[in-house]
């Protein structure tokens, strides 16, 4: 027992919010009291049965959980190797895993008496989920979104507006997720006393990485029970895409101490790692400090953050959640990558083989699966986190497929 607890991967973060050397609370003093407040409110919520019951209620009746663990029969035959299961979080209300976290944080905000919410968004899924929760709980919602992402994720912008959210397009920097997060933090600094910031991934200052992981862990907890029920055993490999890393942490966390389960996080390789035009912070970055935590970042020798590139707005981020950085340092999780082109192929393959149009983000995970599952044996099992549906991406994907003559 004592050796087991020494070897657990479930003992992070420490009191100061560290995952190994990563994480922490690197924020301006203006935000410190707020973050400490969120931390103590979250601690008290975790100890409160009513909070858990309320969260469970909304997970079941509003989000539609549990999401199915679906045996992808046709993809399995197509690849001709291990059995592939899809964790269907794209079936959640609003079409992605983001709502799992948002409902949790919105309930926390409500508990803290806050009625004004800020969020950053890349693909727009987190923005839509936040706008949705704000409509549900009658809160005011302001979403910061990079100007470039406003263009490439139009349908989500329209959905947010319909739900009553105010969109702030961010033109600073490259006009993508990193800049949206800077701007959301600035806005929070300016409106610190009245607003709650719902961060959309396992990044930011402590306690956000831990809190978002906890709210997303429902994915892995369900998947673990479902696979045992379906197959009578644990999977051989589990795979998820990584932007900030919330859907991945959600799937991975309940499996971390199952040492026979191999875990793969798939970063966006954009136009290829050697091109420098990618979003693979673990593969191509080094530890640094941004957005309130230490983690692997894309940066130059002078510590200036460099731009990320990905076809997928949700993966277009130069950092990664600090717990992933720690899992990378410890070697527990294997971090790999898939390019824009590989993701496009997987996107189309999934649509044609399974009748499921995936988001571009999990298409990266499927692209990686396609490189290794064929070499596995037929009695092995792989679970892929299908964390979002692809409707939002049609505007970007269709012209590209058309150009490649693949439609």
């Amino acid at each position: 027992m004592s050796t087991a607890s020494l070897n657990t991967y479930h003992n992070q973060p420490d009191e100061s919010g560290r995952f190994g050397i990563h994480g922490g609370r690197f924020v301006a003093e203006t935000l410190m009291p707020l973050i400490l407040n969120v931390e103590s409110a979250y601690k008290s919520a975790c100890a409160d049965k009513d909070f858990a019951a309320e969260l469970a209620y909304y997970q079941k009746h509003y989000i539609g959980r549990p999401s199915p663990l679906y045996f992808a029969d046709r993809l399995t035959s197509y690849f001709g190797g291990a059995k592939l299961y899809l964790k269907r979080d794209e079936l959640n209300h609003t079409g992605a895993h983001k709502i799992n976290n948002v409902i949790g944080q919105a309930l926390l905000a409500k508990r803290m008496g806050k009625t004004k919410i800020i969020a950053e968004t890349g693909a727009g899924q987190h923005g839509v989920a936040t706008a949705t929760a704000c409509a549900l709980f009658d809160m005011k919602c302001e979403v910061f979104m990079g100007a470039e992402d406003v263009e490439r994720q139009r349908p989500n912008v329209e959905r947010m507006r319909l739900l009553g959210a105010k969109i702030h397009p961010v033109t600073a920097g490259t006009g993508t997720l990193k800049d949206a997060m800077n701007e959301a933090l600035r806005y929070w600094v300016t409106n610190a006393e009245t607003h709650f910031y719902i961060i959309g991934t396992v990044a930011g200052p402590h306690p956000y990485p831990q809190m978002v992981r906890d709210f997303q862990s429902v994915i892995g907890t369900e998947a673990r029970e479902q696979i045992i029920k379906a197959e009578g055993r644990l999977p051989d490999k589990i795979v998820a895409c990584i932007g900030g890393g919330s859907n991945a942490m959600g799937l991975f966390y309940p499996f971390l101490d199952d040492k026979d389960v191999e875990i793969y996080g798939v970063e966006a390789a954009g136009k290829g790692i050697p091109s420098g035009l990618h979003a693979a912070s673990l593969t191509g970055g080094q530890p640094g400090i941004l957005h309130g935590n230490r983690t692997y970042l894309l940066q130059n020798d002078d510590g200036q953050i460099t731009d990320a590139h990905s076809i997928s707005a949700g993966l277009d981020y130069p950092g990664i959640g600090p717990e992933h950085s720690w899992l990378h340092d410890t070697g527990r999780v294997n971090y790999v990558s898939a390019t824009d082109d590989e993701a496009l192929v997987a996107f189309q393959l999934c649509a044609r083989q399974e009748g499921i149009i995936p988001a571009l983000e999990p298409s990266h995970a499927l692209a990686y699966v396609s490189t290794m599952i064929g070499d596995m044996s037929a009695d092995q099992i792989v679970i892929l986190n299908m964390c979002g549906r692809g409707d939002k991406d049609l505007g970007a994907v269709l012209p590209m497929l058309d150009k490649l003559g693949r439609l």
Binding site: S16, G24, R25, F26, V27, A28, E29, T30, L31, M32, P33, L34, A172, G173, K178, N182, L185, R186, V189, T190, N191, A192, E193, Q286, G288, I289, L290, H291, G292, R294, L297, Q299, D301, D302, G303, Q304, I305, T306
Partner: protein
């Protein structure tokens, strides 16, 4: 040995006035102009200088200082370059306190120990690192203080009585009161709120207390320097740089900017010394 920072506050107090600090970003509008600007600030009578270390993602800064950082980075300014500017400044100006202000990541990548050693050698007096709250003191604050650098803390409108002791515990040099809730360069502070904050902080520390963020005019600077021990002006100076960029030579000094900043800063020092 009394440090440069202690001296200027003692001198100003003896003269019955507050101090004036001015912020500029190293490398803005270009590397050649910064030393000339710093000389002009000293010439105009500023008491202390805050030299910004440019960063790509300045979380607590408004559009003016964000743009200044980006101009500096685009022109090739680095942390090593900023330290060189500081070292050269110290040779020309033995008495004016110079404080480096910025964000942690460039320092972390440069190497904390190496940075502290080079800053001490350059004759830097203190550091303001926006994203290093007391909770993260062990990495940079404590070793920097041990090496003789002052670690200047920001106190903000959200720092209530229960938070102040944590902020002030390792504070040194002076305390920087951020007089508005928010980022640099957006709105201006009201005199009575500065005064109330000053009293509250004063009850917990003997360090000099200066007000900054949102001080744009000589009237505001004079008021803040009366209500506290000094005023810091940043975005208003950076705005002068931003609106006079047109004739910046590739590798030379933009004298127009130097002159306009000098004129503005003279107005500030005159107002404060009155």
């Amino acid at each position: 040995m009394t440090g440069r920072i202690e001296k200027i506050f003692a001198n100003a107090k003896a003269a019955g006035r507050g101090t004036l600090g001015v912020f500029v970003t190293a490398g803005d509008p270009n590397a050649a102009t910064t030393p000339a600007l710093l000389d002009a600030l000293v010439g105009a009578g500023v008491d202390l200088i805050e030299l910004g270390m440019p960063f790509s993602d300045p979380m607590a800064d408004g559009p003016a200082i964000q743009a200044a950082s980006l101009r500096a980075l685009k022109g090739g300014m680095t942390l090593a370059g900023t330290l060189q500017i500081a070292a050269d400044f110290r040779k020309r100006h033995p008495d004016t306190p110079l404080i480096l202000m910025g964000y942690y990541n460039p320092i972390y990548i440069y190497g904390n120990d190496r940075f502290i050693a080079d800053a001490v050698t350059a004759g830097v007096d203190g550091l303001i690192i926006v994203d290093l709250p007391p909770e993260e003191d062990t990495e940079l604050c404590l070793p920097a203080k041990k090496a003789g650098l002052k670690f200047i803390r920001l106190v903000t409108p959200t720092s209530d009585e229960t938070r102040l002791p944590a902020i002030l515990e390792e504070a040194s040099g002076f305390v920087y009161y951020v007089s508005v809730l928010g980022i640099t360069g957006t709105k201006s502070a009201a005199g009575d709120s500065i005064s109330a904050a000053y009293q509250q902080i004063r009850s917990q520390t003997d360090l000099p207390i200066v007000a900054g963020f949102g001080i744009r005019t000589s009237a505001q600077a004079a008021e803040a320097a009366t209500l506290t021990d000094g005023a810091v002006v940043g975005s208003a100076v950076v705005d002068i740089i931003a609106t006079n960029l047109s004739d910046t030579p590739q590798n030379g000094i933009n004298n127009d900017i130097v002159q306009k900043v000098a004129t503005f800063v003279c107005e500030l020092t005159n107002a404060i010394c009155k």
